[in-house]
């Protein structure tokens, strides 16, 4: 040992009175750089708990946990990300992929705690000093995106290619288009809860990505036996909650579903879906009405081995899907593709047979083990304003039915349609086509109580109706149909200010000072439909329970208080196709439960 080794520990003492080199207060003296990737922040009111952050995390540092005070609801799982800083490497991929943009990193990087469990917390929920720190890492603006924010649009016919015929206006996706649209999906599954049928949406989109369309078809049929139809005209509530829709355009879920159904040829369905050999179980079920609810119930009952007979009042199956929705949105051959597959499972249909007139419900009860009724809403409602009893005032639903049946309908030169929903758009656009065929021009005004922003019709329906020459002029309350010497002259309206009163009751308020007159020689009412359940008569009717609004009360399986009678579809829930399909599926399971338990 040399002298230096002995003395060197003491040489430091020489500097004991010097200015210290170490920072006295490192937190304040040395803040992180403005874009430093420090501890997480989360705007939990913007976060929807989609879990994309958890999925992308290479280090499995993120868990999704329930948070008190945040409810699970449509579009929000109620979960929020919790970060384990024992694993986090501060790469910020979670921030960059965040679908809502709620997640960011603060530039705080110093934090001391003796309890290692403190280093696992839920940002935005567990109070932290950097919660409101404005600096730190945010997803950079510009082209830096993990998925394209804009949809791949399927090809549409231009207005002038479609405005005078009923050919289908939206063409399906090509393979390349479908695959790149499918590639935008982050597989969070938030949409599944909102879909009334709870379809496996991320699963079938994944099948498209994997180019395994047979698997895609199997996923569709798990919950929905009418994919060609829903792939075209579903109200796509799923798309309203798509996580990608928070910062960009939601996935085109509906067109992706159509792509799967379109690509699978009908002759291969049985093989793909493995439904070639269904063992009959010896029981039979009658279904009233071949609409979406009835067809769905029939499909799932047939798969379980039931012998199913559908009683349909009209000459063809499909219900509102055939007799309500125009052909340019849903071509009949595609409707038939779905229906024929269900029939191929052994489901029988007795057409032109109206239950209640041609055969009574009691008769069905005596011949079948159970009955499912999905008779829908086929009676138009009237505004009952003065003049509605004129022969040139029509109900949209009746006109649409006649167009499908190929019957001649009155098409006037000037038409006013009252209604702001999708059915109003259907009749507007159908009549616009017929006007153009007959007169070479369109003179149709569609008006609704609701203002433009609040119209219940799908946005694209309104846009496309206008493209086809119709005038959509919302925000007016109809007052009176002007009739002079027996001839219809037009519709008097006043400005509608609000629809509902403070208690939420339907009670339109009008400004009588702002009036308008829509000239017309034909008026079509399209303000909603009612049900005709006159076939529920006698004993059955007496045993049924009705709610204050006149709807039949059913349990979670859609079983009425008459145990053998299940009821679903538009007369219970909706109205739309996908609720009907979901009801039919649930009722089929309920009927099976009921018939195996007795």
């Amino acid at each position: 040992m040399i002298l230096k080794d002995i003395l060197s520990p003491f040489s430091g003492w020489r500097k004991v009175f010097n200015e210290p080199v170490a920072l006295k207060d490192p937190v304040n003296d040395r803040p992180g750089a403005p874009r430093y990737r420090g501890f997480h922040k989360n705007d939990i009111s913007a976060c929807i708990g989609c879990g994309t952050c958890e999925t992308i995390c290479e280090n499995a540092a993120i868990d999704l946990v329930p948070v008190e005070g945040i409810k699970t609801k449509d579009g929000d799982s109620g979960l929020r990300p919790r970060v384990d800083y024992g694993r986090c490497c501060w790469c910020a991929l979670c921030v960059d992929v965040c679908t809502t943009g709620s997640l960011s990193l603060s530039n705080a990087y110093i934090w001391v705690s003796e309890d290692s469990d403190d280093y696992r917390f839920t940002p935005g929920v567990d109070e932290k000093p950097w919660q409101n720190e404005p600096l730190g890492w945010k997803k950079p603006e510009g082209d830096y995106e993990f998925y394209p924010l804009n949809r791949v649009a399927p090809p549409h016919l231009h207005p002038e290619e479609r405005h005078d015929s009923f050919v289908e206006m939206v063409k399906g996706f090509s393979k390349e288009q479908a695959m790149s649209e499918a590639d935008r999906c982050v597989e969070c599954g938030i949409c599944t809860a909102t879909c009334p049928a709870h379809m496996g949406i991320p699963q079938y989109i994944k099948a498209i990505r994997n180019d395994d369309l047979e698997e895609g078809l199997r996923v569709l049929y798990d919950t929905n036996p009418l994919p060609e139809i829903c792939g075209r005209i579903c109200t796509h509530k799923c798309e309203t909650v798509c996580s990608i829709g928070h910062r960009g355009e939601p996935l085109s879920i509906r067109w992706l579903k159509r792509y799967i159904a379109d690509q699978n040829p009908s002759e291969k369905y049985k093989e793909i879906l493995n439904t070639g050999n269904i063992e009959p179980n010896g029981k039979n079920v009658a279904v009233v009405g071949a609409g979406p609810a009835g067809l769905s119930a029939a499909h799932y009952l047939a798969l379980m081995g039931y012998s199913v007979t559908i009683f349909e009042a009209l000459p063809e199956a499909g219900g509102m899907m055939r007799y309500g929705i125009p052909e340019y949105r849903l071509p009949y051959d595609q409707l038939d593709k779905d229906i024929n597959y269900i029939l191929s499972l052994g489901v029988a249909i007795r057409y032109n047979t109206r239950v209640g007139t041609d055969i009574s419900l009691e008769q069905l009860h005596s011949q079948y083990d159970a009955v499912f009724a999905g008779t829908g809403l086929h009676q138009g409602r009237s505004t009952r304003i003065e003049g509605t009893n004129h022969p040139h005032v029509y109900q949209s639903i009746e006109l649409l039915r006649k167009i499908t049946l190929g019957e001649e309908i009155h098409v006037a030169e000037k038409i006013v349609v009252i209604g702001g929903g999708n059915v109003a758009m259907d009749i507007t656009r159908s009549l616009a086509r017929l006007q153009r065929q007959k007169y070479g021009k369109v003179q149709i005004i569609t008006t609704s109580l609701e203002t433009e922003e609040k119209m219940p019709a799908d946005r694209e329906e309104v846009v496309e109706a206008r493209e086809e020459g119709a005038t959509v002029n919302p925000g007016w309350a109809p007052q009176k149909i002007e009739i002079v010497d027996g001839a219809l002259k037009g519709l008097h309206v006043v400005q509608c200010m609000s629809l509902f009163d403070s208690t939420g009751k339907f009670n339109p308020q009008c400004n009588m000072d702002v009036a308008n007159f829509f000239e017309a020689d034909m008026v079509v009412e399209s303000i909603g439909q009612g049900m005709d359940i006159s076939y529920l008569e006698g004993n059955v009717k007496d045993q049924l329970t009705f709610d204050p609004r006149g709807r039949i009360v059913v349990n979670a399986q859609f079983q009425s208080s008459v145990p053998w009678l299940f009821v679903g579809g538009d007369i219970i829930q909706g109205p739309d196709v996908i609720h009907g399909i979901a009801n039919g599926h649930t009722a089929a399971k309920g009927i099976d439960q009921y018939l195996t338990s007795i």
Partner: protein, 175 residues
């Protein structure tokens, strides 16, 4: 720099790329001319510093890429010289005789990628991974997640939920 590349092209069959930054250039040479090329760069062209030596695994092409990053302190210019070598049972000539610290880079590459540098001092000794008993972890066929799951235990008390499943449980448990 262009003149330098021209000279090198003639002698070493080099392929130059357009510069990424005003003071940063890259070029590719045949692996068997690498040592001669960088010796020339060091002794005659002023690139006296070896900044780093690193590898990229191009598993799809069956190749490793080695990048020798040199610096010319007089002109403050970086030059990355790249070579491509076969991925299987691969070895490369050592350059520890040119720069002593190259041995450390080479030892690291042996450990992380399995690229051998025969004759390089202590090349077979562990660099970071004491007691490593798997394939070199930077090779892309190494499954980091699987290794972590088999080797380490998860922190106790962690649990997570799948959003779709959780929503079903909360919103429609019976359907």
């Amino acid at each position: 720099m262009n003149q330098l590349f021209k000279r090198l092209e003639d002698s070493f069959g080099l392929t130059a790329e357009s510069p990424r930054k005003p003071d940063q250039y890259f070029c590719t040479v045949d692996a068997n001319k690498l040592v001669a090329c960088i010796t020339h760069l060091r002794d005659n062209e002023g690139f006296t510093i070896l900044t780093l030596l690193t590898a990229v695994d191009w598993i799809e092409d069956g190749k490793f890429q080695l990048t020798y990053l040199l610096n010319n302190p007089a002109t403050k210019t970086d030059l990355g010289v790249r070579i491509f070598i076969e991925r299987d049972n691969t070895s490369m000539q050592s350059i520890h005789h040119l720069w002593g610290h190259a041995a450390t880079f080479q030892r690291e590459l042996k450990e992380m990628f399995g690229i051998d540098f025969p004759g390089s001092p202590r090349v077979d000794e562990p660099f970071l991974l004491e007691g490593w008993d798997d394939i070199p972890p930077m090779r892309r066929e190494f499954d980091t997640k699987k290794y972590a799951e088999e080797t380490y235990f998860p922190r106790p008390g962690r649990e997570t939920n799948d959003p779709a499943q959780y929503m079903k449980q909360k919103l429609y448990p019976d359907e």
